[in-house]
């Protein structure tokens, strides 16, 4: 590890300026639960670590009637400590309570999880099924990108030189909406998903599925928005047959590899099992 500078800007402009100046040689630091380990492991050779926790916008949580705005540096525990967020964004809460450990959850958050952009990220699939959008600030202005389009490969994403994630926004879909996220790990904590599935269901006034979303993790180079499986549910009765069909389609939408955490076949099988389970759980949570 080479010595590096630590900067703690208090404005977005200042942060963007530093990131732009150093390019690849600078990384933003939120909770640091990934970054510090990566620096020590020799993954980055940095000139500067930019602590973004002193920028007000990045610490904001605004839970309005229509949407939730989550600052990029907000740690997980702030979500599950707030009952109103827990009620409207259950998929998010599933992830917030299982990332790392209690200690990790008090530092790490969805912003860092998204920017770290690993295929196994526990935070990204739930954001996708909650229709979240990433709000990005760069030197030449701001832009918003749907979370499902954010990651471009293992550890890479759409952020350009000098760009940083400011917040994540997701709509409050009301009482007819339910969501859930679960990962498969051989143990009961402190592990990385062999495969994981997030799902959400919104019912129309007739009790049919108005909208469904299924997102997969650890089964491809990025978290995957399983669009065909999601579309297959639209307009259907929320029943076992529909869920099973969607689960089967989701299985065909992933492209897992074999590694130390699991085999490709095992992961595909788990996607099918977990998709059905998450759809059932999402449905159970509607109105609950």
């Amino acid at each position: 590890m080479q010595p590096f500078a630590y900067s703690a800007p208090t404005t977005l402009e200042e942060a963007v300026e530093i990131l732009d100046k150093h390019g690849e040689k600078a990384r933003p630091l939120a909770g640091g639960t990934d970054l510090l380990v990566q620096i020590r492991g020799g993954r980055f050779d940095l000139d500067t670590v930019v602590d973004i926790k002193k920028i007000p916008e990045l610490n904001e949580i605004s839970n309005g009637n229509d949407e939730l705005v989550l600052g990029a540096a907000v740690p997980c525990h702030k979500l599950y400590d707030d009952p109103s967020i827990s009620k409207s964004y259950p998929g998010l809460i599933d992830a917030a309570t299982l990332i790392g450990s209690i200690q990790i959850q008090s530092r790490s958050g969805f912003g860092g999880n998204l920017c770290n952009s690993t295929p196994s990220a526990d935070g990204i699939a739930p954001l996708i099924v909650h229709s979240a959008v990433a709000n990005i600030q760069g030197k030449s202005g701001s832009r918003s990108v749907p979370v499902e389009d954010f990651c471009t490969g293992p550890g890479s994403n759409v952020l350009g030189k000098g760009e940083m994630l400011v917040s994540i926004t997701m709509p409050n879909k009301g009482d007819k909406f339910g969501a859930a996220y679960e990962r498969f790990i051989p143990r009961n904590e402190m592990d990385i998903a062999v495969a994981a599935v997030g799902a959400s269901i919104m019912l129309d006034s007739n009790g049919k599925i108005a909208e469904a979303k299924i997102a997969l993790a650890s089964v491809g180079p990025t978290p995957i928005f399983a669009t065909k499986a999601s579309e297959s549910l639209k307009g259907k009765e929320p029943n076992e047959a529909a869920f099973k069909e969607a689960a089967s389609i989701a299985k065909s939408e992933c492209s897992p590899i074999e590694d130390m955490r699991g085999t490709a076949d095992q992961r595909k099988h788990l996607v099918e099992v977990l998709t059905e389970r998450m759809l059932i759980k999402s449905l159970e949570r509607i109105g609950g």
Partner: protein, 754 residues
């Protein structure tokens, strides 16, 4: 002299649960561990390790690293004193020294190649990157099958292997030996049912939390002082002195507390490297601490391997023949746990005809080390699975069958050694009568499947050399010095035996573990020998102290020594009503000849064979293969639990490690022979959330070789869980898994195929 060790004496101290002597220091964080050692002028060392599993070192250029600011010294294997005359080195010492710094070849990823000392740790790490090593990459040997294949790459080109007494060159089988009892090959003809199965196991790591570390100061007067996390400070002294060509009296190995070892800290990795760096850095003290990746890649795991078990039974329910072929992965250098594995495999049963063939197999993985009952969990997984399958096939009760075939006093082990008094049958009966065995599995989720397994395990336990010194202080307390590293509360278990003998409270005994210059040789803490052997030395030292105190009492009372009795901490006159306790004597002792001290050393050849049983209930999600142990009971003959809470703690810890080994732990080896999962994130040891409370039933059948009946506790409990879990999986799914770890993918496969 014959001592009747069998009497059921009522004890005052033994069997109680006092606050351990090192408790306050450890819970307050004040205890000094290897990483805490600070010396004036301390600098840091770092080890450069091989990125390849198997390669020839073409050249090492250290010049850039040497020129870096803050760097004091860079060393390679050429700087190790005994390597100056390679032809003169004993072959075992040569293997050991090549493991601490590779000579000409690297044999596993993580094999040390060079080392650097620098002003700070980060500089030392950066300097390692400047060392240029040119390798010729060789094909890696990844497992037993590859090692013994025709035309396999040979790890040790100078090997002279002993295969059943013949010397063999150009082989990866470093040793092959055989045990035979009766005539196993012919006797299978008289078996009514024979079952033969093959089992494969992956390497696993002990997973101690504290990484290996060493601080060394080789001073200008050529005296070397060492501090390192080790189970055996004398082993560190002796091996380091051997590598450095120093007399042992020039090396002082200091005791520091140890944050877990489980057998993995019986090897010596860093102290000699730190020592050479110290000398080359102008006699500055040098500290090295491994990171977790280096611990996984570079320090000894327990061997994986291939085991074939064949057992023959008669229709009457007797095992009449057993044959076991054991091939264990030694890692890069010879010395896997085959000697113990070959005895432990069939040690639970009274079998008239036995053949065991054991092979020590070299593979391009770190040199294996001891891990709790080394060799026994692997072979017991195989044998206890076959026993389970036979019982099911023949519809025999799994405990009754084992009782009918259990080893007892007079049974011969596979190596021909006779058992003295052992408690295996009593342990089986305790399991049979246990609440767990007599209650149904708690099947609380209708979407899950459930199973129960039972399995046994054996470990012979250790004897060897130990020393204890006692000093009666003027205030009536006892200072106790002993040479055993305290891994699991042994300061207290030894002190309790001394306190019991002296009739004093254990709080009056003040134990210390001094350095290797200040106590007689004491063998490494391991093999479950410490409470047994060092405790034995403590008992002897206490008796010697009593004899010496009697002399002093006799002077004070002006009565002949033989007229003085000692009982429960008091001296009595046989002919008058004079009485005095130890505390009172202490205040009057100086005029009688100065301080009273005693010392006792033992070298015990045999120990108290231990047997254990695991009963395991599993809950399995049949759609994901997720497996949870929902109830586990460990039953074990401990001989005598000196300190019951700690004995139970040892049993629980062993059970947890065995369950982890059974379910998810493994060295995941990539195609290039390198270990992929070198972190606690991906080396899946159980967490607290993965374990139920482990129930413990301790059986006490006194070991006749020990004054208090101690057998040794720590190793046995890791043995039964592998097969207990496997047998429970069979019970739940209807199919058996013949390899470890029995992870979710394999469970799904057997459910799909079953």
């Amino acid at each position: 002299m014959t001592i009747n060790f069998e009497s059921k004496k009522k004890y005052n101290v033994i069997g109680t649960n006092p606050i351990r002597h090192d408790g306050y220091d450890k819970v307050t964080g004040r205890a000094i561990y290897g990483a805490d050692v600070k010396l004036p002028g301390l600098i840091w060392g770092e080890v450069l390790r091989s990125p390849y599993a198997h390669a020839r070192i073409k050249s090492i250029d250290t010049s850039k690293a040497e020129k870096m600011d803050g760097v004091f010294a860079v060393i390679t294997s050429k700087d190790i004193p005994i390597n100056k005359n390679r032809s003169g080195i004993d072959v075992n010492l040569k293997r050991d020294v090549d493991n601490i710094l590779a000579y000409e070849k690297v044999l596993y990823k993580g094999h040390p190649v060079a080392a650097v000392s620098a002003a700070d740790r980060n500089t030392a790490k950066e300097a390692c990157k400047l060392i240029e090593v040119k390798y010729e990459i060789l094909e890696p040997v990844k497992n037993v099958d590859e090692a013994i294949a025709k035309n396999a790459p040979i790890l040790l080109e100078d090997i002279e292997a002993d295969h059943l007494g013949k010397t063999v060159n150009n082989t990866n089988i470093a040793k092959h030996f055989r045990h035979e009892l009766g005539d196993a090959n012919n006797e299978f003809k008289n078996s009514d049912y024979i079952l033969e199965k093959e089992f494969n196991l992956q390497m696993v790591h002990q997973g101690y939390i504290e990484p290996h570390n060493a601080t060394a100061h080789w001073d200008e007067n050529d005296h070397l002082s060492l501090w390192s996390s080790t189970q055996g400070m004398f082993a560190v002294r002796d091996l380091t002195a051997g590598f450095l060509d120093l007399p042992i009296s020039k090396v002082t190995s200091n005791y520091v507390e140890i944050g877990g070892g489980f057998g993995g800290k019986t090897k010596v990795y860093l102290p000699p490297v730190a020592a050479i760096l110290s000398k080359k850095s102008g006699h500055k003290p040098v500290k090295i601490i491994m990171d977790r990746i280096s611990v996984f890649q570079g320090s000894g795991p327990a061997p994986g391997g291939k085991i074939i078990v064949k057992i023959g039974v008669t229709n009457e329910g007797k095992i009449n023949s057993g044959a076991v072929d054991i091939k264990l992965e030694a890692g890069a250098y010879p010395g896997s746990a085959i000697p113990a594995a070959a005895v432990c495999c069939l040690a639970c049963y009274n079998i008239p005809n036995i053949r065991v063939d054991a092979y020590d197999v070299l593979v391009n993985k770190p040199k294996s080390a001891a891990y709790r009952a080394p060799g026994s969990p692997q072979v017991s997984f195989a044998v206890e699975s076959v026993i389970d399958e036979i019982c099911e096939k023949m519809t025999w009760d799994k405990i009754d069958f084992r009782i009918a075939n259990a080893s007892k006093e007079g049974t011969r082990k596979p190596d021909g050694v006779l058992y003295h008094k052992i408690g295996f049958i009593e342990t089986l009966e305790a399991a049979k009568n246990s609440d767990h065995w007599n209650s149904k599995i708690d099947k609380k989720d209708k979407n899950k499947i459930y199973g129960r397994g039972i399995a046994c395990g054996y470990w012979h336990n250790g004897g060897n050399r130990s020393t204890v010194d006692l000093i009666l202080q003027d205030d009536g307390n006892i200072a106790l010095n002993e040479g055993s590293a305290d891994i699991g509360g042994t300061r207290t278990s030894i002190s309790m035996q001394v306190a019991e003998t002296l009739g004093m409270p254990v709080e009056s005994i003040h134990p210390s573990i001094p350095d290797t210059d200040k106590i007689g040789f004491t063998a490494t803490t391991g093999g479950s020998r410490t409470t047994y052997a060092t405790g034995y030395a403590g008992w002897e030292a206490a008796n010697k102290l009593i004899e010496e105190m009697k002399k002093r009492v006799s002077i004070l009372w002006e009565e002949p020594e033989e007229e003085i009795d000692f009982a429960d901490g008091n001296f009595y006159s046989k002919k008058s009503d004079l009485k005095m306790n130890i505390e009172e004597l202490a205040t009057k002792i100086n005029p009688t000849g100065g301080p009273v001290t005693s010392t006792a050393s033992v070298n015990l050849s045999a120990a108290g064979n231990g047997f254990g049983i695991g009963i395991c209930d599993l809950e399995i999600d049949p759609h994901t293969g997720k497996t949870d142990v929902i109830r586990y009971t460990a039953v074990q003959d401990v001989g005598k639990a000196i300190y019951p809470q700690y004995a139970e703690g040892q049993i629980r810890g062993g059970a947890v490690q065995g369950i982890g080994w059974a379910l998810n732990e493994e060295y995941y080896i990539e195609k290039d022979g390198t270990m992929a999962n070198t972190s606690f994130l991906d080396y899946r040891m159980p967490t607290a959330l993965d374990m139920p409370n482990i129930d413990v039933i301790m059986v006490e059948v006194a070991n006749p070789l020990h004054p208090f009946g101690v057998r040794g506790v720590g190793e046995v409990p890791i043995v039964p869980p592998l097969a207990a879990v496997g047998n429970a999986i069979k019970d739940a799914t209807g199919s058996r898994i013949y390899s470890t770890p029995m992870k979710p993918r394999k469970i799904l496969e057997v459910i799909d195929n079953g």
